[in-house]
């Protein structure tokens, strides 16, 4: 049963081949058996899952239907889930049981999903290897000595290992797409404002966006359909109707114009990944697409701009974790300053502290213009690059990552090397456009991902291209050995 996609589960449940409770029990057992190798869960919510599963079965028995009714999923552990530990994989949220549900959690729950647990991640979503978690590193099911990518590494590893058919993730600089690429999944970061951020604990508010990771584009469409939409509780969510993503899947690709940015194929890219990307291009041509080279000239500035803006926002967003009202508080503080310094000093991990310090510095009096303001200007240039490019092409295609999944610990002492792994993904966050990563084959037994980018609110187009590709290829149904 664990091999089923969401779409297959929907059919199985509708045809009464199995119940949601049976499926849930089977996956819970699988998690108990296999997750110790992966460490993809922070919390398994067995009781909640079983009650949701029986409720979903009852709803079906009452004649209700729905693609996600009774479908088991997991949430990245920065989505607030009422009365369940919501940790952001940080010591500082020790014991924090959220008093409310995130909008995404609420929407998926009302669609009938069954929450199997809360998934591991980089602490506060800061990282691209899932090694900065207070709850320990997550392993890549394709090679347990390698990283699954991050920051949604737990979500990726769990879905890739067939512990779950789909999971939520968030993407601030590539945190859905990059782990999807490194674990052979399909993952989509929607347009900024498409998915509500209410209850999604912020890393960098102007970049964060929630989205799904699943094995197929179709499953991503099912998930995103339930997750997306305007939310009055999030002022940055956009009041625009949600497209019918499932309907978009089946459109033929005849006449699709694909742009290949030359900057995505330059130095730094593992040539073997480049080759895989080109085989995808060939396949899409066969499906009727045309291809042209384009340029995104300001891409080279994206990483420095991102590593000013994201830490700047994070330094402010993370100020509320002060040991006063919730989460971790140091033992026996002697005074207020001691309470702050030790609670935060002991509660945050090294990467989080690094980014808080970088961001604090970037916003300081006398430096603001040189860093934050300049980064915002670069951001505008990057956005303009995309707007110009989309005059000529419908989607932009390239590698999701420059490298294959690396060894655990390999880049721990070189944060800049790790930051460079985001080179192809962060521009979409800076510009706010949607991006998707899909499986494109294997190099040395390790998955390779291809990234597709589209204009604002054209998630349907991305899912359509990926789905059509997945109709003629089988990379996405390959499972890691042992899972």
């Amino acid at each position: 049963m664990h091999q089923f996609t969401l779409a297959e589960i929907a059919r199985g449940l509708a045809d009464k081949q199995f119940s949601s409770e049976e499926l849930t029990r089977s996956l819970l057992a699988r998690i108990a058996q296999l997750d110790p190798q992966l460490n993809s869960f922070i919390t398994v919510t067995e009781e909640l899952a079983l009650s949701q599963a029986t409720a979903a079965d009852a709803r079906r028995a009452n004649g209700e239907s729905g693609a996600l009714l009774g479908a088991p999923i997991g949430h990245k552990d920065l989505f607030c889930t009422q009365d369940v530990l919501t940790s952001c994989a940080s010591k500082i949220l020790t014991g924090f049981k959220a008093p409310y549900n995130a909008t995404v959690v609420e929407k998926l729950a009302s669609a009938g999903t069954v929450t199997l647990g809360k998934l591991n991640m980089d602490e506060f979503a800061m990282g691209s290897a899932n090694e900065s978690s207070h709850y320990g590193a997550v392993k890549n099911p394709w090679d347990l000595t390698r990283v699954p990518g991050g920051s949604s590494g737990g979500s990726a590893a769990a879905v890739a290992a067939r512990l779950l058919p789909a999971a939520t993730g968030t993407d601030t600089g590539g945190s859905i797409r990059q782990p999807a690429a490194l674990t052979n999944l399909t993952g989509i970061k929607p347009t900024y404002g498409r998915v509500s951020r209410w209850g999604m604990i912020a890393y960098a508010s102007s970049l964060d966006q929630g989205g799904p990771l699943a094995r197929t584009a179709e499953d991503c469409a099912l998930m995103l359909q339930a997750m997306a939409g305007f939310d009055t509780k999030d002022s940055t969510s956009v009041d625009q109707p949600v497209d019918d993503y499932l309907a978009a899947l089946s459109q033929p690709l005849n006449g699709l114009r694909i742009g290949l940015p030359k900057e995505y194929f330059g130095a730094g890219l593992d040539a073997r990944i480049g080759e895989k990307v080109m085989t995808v291009v060939e396949e899409l041509k066969k499906l009727g697409a045309s291809v042209k080279e384009i340029s995104l000239p300001n891409m080279q500035h994206a990483i420095p701009a991102y590593y000013v803006i994201a830490p700047a926002e994070a330094s402010s967003n993370l100020s509320r974790f002060d040991g006063v009202r919730f989460g971790y508080r140091c033992e026996n503080p002697v005074n207020l300053e001691d309470l702050y310094k030790r609670s935060r000093g002991e509660g945050f991990g090294a990467e989080v502290k690094r980014r808080i310090m970088v961001g604090t510095y970037a916003l300081s009096a006398g430096y603001y213009d040189a860093y934050y303001l300049k980064a915002q200007k670069i951001r505008r240039l990057i956005k303009n690059d995309f707007v110009a490019a989309f005059n000529d092409v419908d989607v932009i295609l390239g590698p999701t990552t420059p490298n294959l999944a690396w060894k655990l610990g390999e880049k721990n002492n070189d944060p800049v090397a790790a930051y460079l792994e985001d080179i192809y993904t962060i521009t979409a966050n800076l510009a706010g456009i949607p991006g998707l990563s899909m499986p494109a084959g294997f190099v040395d037994g390790l998955p390779v991902g291809v990234q597709l980018l589209a204009p604002y609110f054209q998630e349907g187009r991305l899912l359509n291209v990926a789905h059509q590709y997945q109709q003629v290829t089988d990379w996405h149904i390959q499972a890691p050995a042992g899972f």
Partner: protein
Amino acid sequence: MQWETVIGLEIHAQLSTQSKIFSASAIAFGAEPNTQASLVDLGMPGTLPVLNAEAVRMACKFGLAIDAEIAPHNIFARKNYFYPDLPKGYQTSQMDHPIVGKGFLDITLEDGTQKRIGITRAHLEEDAGKSLHEDFHGMSGIDLNRAGTPLLEIVSEPDIRSAKEAVAYVKAIHALVRYLGICDGNMAEGSLRCDCNVSVRPVGQAEFGTRAEIKNVNSFRFIEKAINHEVQRQIELIEDGGKVVQETRLYDPNKDQTRSMRSKEEANDYRYFPCPDLLPVVIEQSFLDEVRATLPELPVEKRARFEREFGLSAYDADVLAASRELANYFEAVNTVCGDAKLAANWVMGELSSLLNKDNLEIDQSPVSAEQLGGMILRIKDNTISGKIAKMVFEALAAGEGASADEVIEKKGLKQVTDSGAIEAMLDEVLAANAEQVEQYRAADEAKRGKMFGFFVGQAMKASKGKANPGQVNELLKKKLEA
């Protein structure tokens, strides 16, 4: 050396919206701690702000009332600092792009002259919570009911030159925000708070001296005292060869002194940056037009009208226009009695002292505008004298009658204007004071003037104040000089 004082004020006016600026919590004063604090106000992880449109409307009202430019795009920024009653670790405020730009307010000085005070800007922000230190041994409690309450911070230009001017300005702002219905102005509850930036410089010097900021002065009286004290401190410091340092000071009303709170060096670097959780606020002209249409007659306009229409002095007009309620009361009295001068005198005199004595607001007045107006009518038609009117007024205040007429009737206070009756009464008075009458008649003109008052007093006493004073004067003179 002659010194000149330079003052700029920052006034925080709590907007009287139903709910907080970024959450749906109520903002009533005095609720049990933390009962008006939602997930957003508590700074719970994952929560987000949603701007209260009513706060924006109120800020626009204020901006229009001070002839300021309203920014079509204004932006919320985060002011970052750690404090236990600041749940998010930052205050959401406005920095580079405030909603209200440059404007001005005309104030009336004690001598009746007008002075224009520039207003640099006014911006929206959220209030912090409160730390409670009393009830928690060795610990502090935090009450977040106030956290997220909408504030309009009104920043003046350094145009103010004395403590008295400062008070006049604060009173004018106080009146304005109450007229506009955007703030209840209750200073005791902290609805209107004032930070005073004070410096001194030798008269004639163009550059400003170094300023000190006195935080959170919460009454008109304390504003005057705190500034006067601070000015004195700075002058003495400089004259003794010292230097004023830029710092934040606190005023202690019990000791009547200011003391240093933190120096410029200790000041936080607030690391302002645009709040990424809120979109820029876009204000369209049509919205402003709509808000403008709801503006009431403003204090300045009302003051001018009172002078023009009723011939009141600048001072009287200013006092009566100070609050919308008082002005309405005065106008109601005037409508009944048709004598603005008398109406003004009674409202500002007897009525004000009555209210002051019992610490009442004008809308709690035990004497209604109709009652007071009706009573003034009886003064005008000579039914009662001004002196008797005070008795009638007191009786009305004590609830001893529904109208002045009823009180006059019941207490028999009607003025005696029958000259026969007055003459008879005067004859009695003169007979009882025969000795004084002789002295009077023997005295020269100058002495007579003084002695005349004695007989008037005796006569009024004998008539229990009811005799018409004009007639008493006239007839008395005739009789004494006969």
